[in-house]
């Protein structure tokens, strides 16, 4: 299985600490060695760094670990190839443009019975079920809202519909963001933590590294981190329930009506 990492904040924040522990899972502390990727939203812009090398041995990952890009929305992924060979075009996150905004998507799980749709506006470039699912999501919400991003409650309902149509084809944990909202769907395994004042120290599970967030933050900062499994061993991570779709904005999950 692959691993997901997401971050959604109210002020641009670097993800170096979480990415350090996450990267170790890509071939060092865990067996996800078939590529990795990370997307940073910076304003409307979005940078995606990809590599089909294991993240623990990737020169691009080594560069990212020491380059503190500040972002309000990040999605990262390390891959264990199941459907689709180890190639750059199969590395997550995938990126497309919709309504004049970039959308970024990463998936953990397999969707072996997902039918191919090569007629939609968005089509996969690689061979993964994940990119196929991303295109189905975008085709669905674009069809529903052709002109512009609708109010978040409406978008949430449309996303729930297409997610419920895709999920029965297998395991469908995913992160999806347009730089404003981060959608997190749990099919089997996904959890999150919200860090806000009073900040404390956190210690990674995968590397012996501790960071005291109090030294790095201001009292109004708020950061949600979402991951396949908890990244720290001294904080309480909240499991997202199977079947649940959360939406994060400004570092908090929104309370939307399903």
């Amino acid at each position: 299985m692959c691993q997901l990492l997401g971050m959604n904040c109210n002020v641009p924040t670097d993800i170096c600490f979480s990415f350090e522990g996450f990267c170790a899972r890509g071939g060092k502390t865990d067996d996800h060695k078939d590529g990795w990727g990370i997307a940073f939203f910076e304003g409307l812009g979005c940078r995606v760094f990809l590599d089909d090398n294991p993240s623990s041995a990737s020169p691009v990952a080594a560069f990212i670990r020491q380059y503190p890009i500040k972002s309000t929305n990040v999605i990262a992924h390390i891959r264990k190839a199941t459907i689709g060979p180890v190639k750059l075009e199969n590395c997550h996150p995938f990126k497309r443009e919709l309504w004049g905004r970039y959308w970024v998507f990463a998936h953990n799980g397999d969707l072996p019975t997902l039918p191919c749709d090569h007629q939609g506006i968005y089509r996969p470039v690689g061979q993964t079920d994940s990119e196929q699912a991303f295109c189905l999501i975008l085709n669905h919400i674009r069809q529903r809202f052709p002109d512009r991003k609708p109010p978040i409650q409406d978008l949430y309902l449309a996303l729930q519909e297409i997610t419920a149509a895709i999920a029965p084809h297998g395991i469908f944990n995913y992160l999806l963001s347009d730089g404003e909202h981060c959608f997190a769907h749990c099919s089997t395994k996904l959890c999150y933590i919200v860090r806000q004042a009073p900040f404390a120290a956190a210690h990674l599970i995968d590397e012996d590294i501790t960071v005291d967030f109090q030294e790095l933050t201001t009292p109004s900062d708020r950061v949600a981190v979402i991951a396949t499994t908890s990244l720290t061993d001294n904080e309480d991570w909240t499991p997202i329930q199977p079947g649940e779709l959360l939406v994060f904005q400004d570092g908090l999950p929104l309370h939307l009506t399903p």
Copy 2:
């Protein structure tokens, strides 16, 4: 004005030598300091590295200069902002997906009278005339060929049409690639060189660096390099004529009927 650099080859080749000279123009030997970007096609996959720092002072550019990504198609750009502020979303090259392939575009020039089209399938994310032109191109060729990439002669004619419609709005030197073909349109300034056996040494204009390509190549290698102005001072670069649209494949310009 911005600067363009493109490479189209018959075997994956690193662009380190050309990029070294090109990067120096981003704030060191020339005044193009408002961001830069480079896109590498690797198979169907495509990595784009962007930075709104000057390329001569960019940590990402420093990383790319020493990381020899091998690619058959590369497009790079350094920016002098004219239309659209210095922001990540305004850095070229821009990337979209069409027919299940990635398309990458970079532009040198201004198109001050280009009308905005916010109704097409492809819409700009940033504020540049360049991204607007890219979206117009993709909307046009998608409308003409909705299902799949047509034979290159047909695509060439459709591209000529939309290019001829956009060009009167200003200056429109551009590079466009889907990883197989590289289209190079000259409005005022663009030139190219084809390097093939027998290979020789080349010396950069912008940095005192010489590379002997004979030591790095095999006799069947062929590499076309396209740039705003020649990058070396001991080779003969061919100027592309104003109004001319060339298509490169496997390191050679194709002979297509306009």
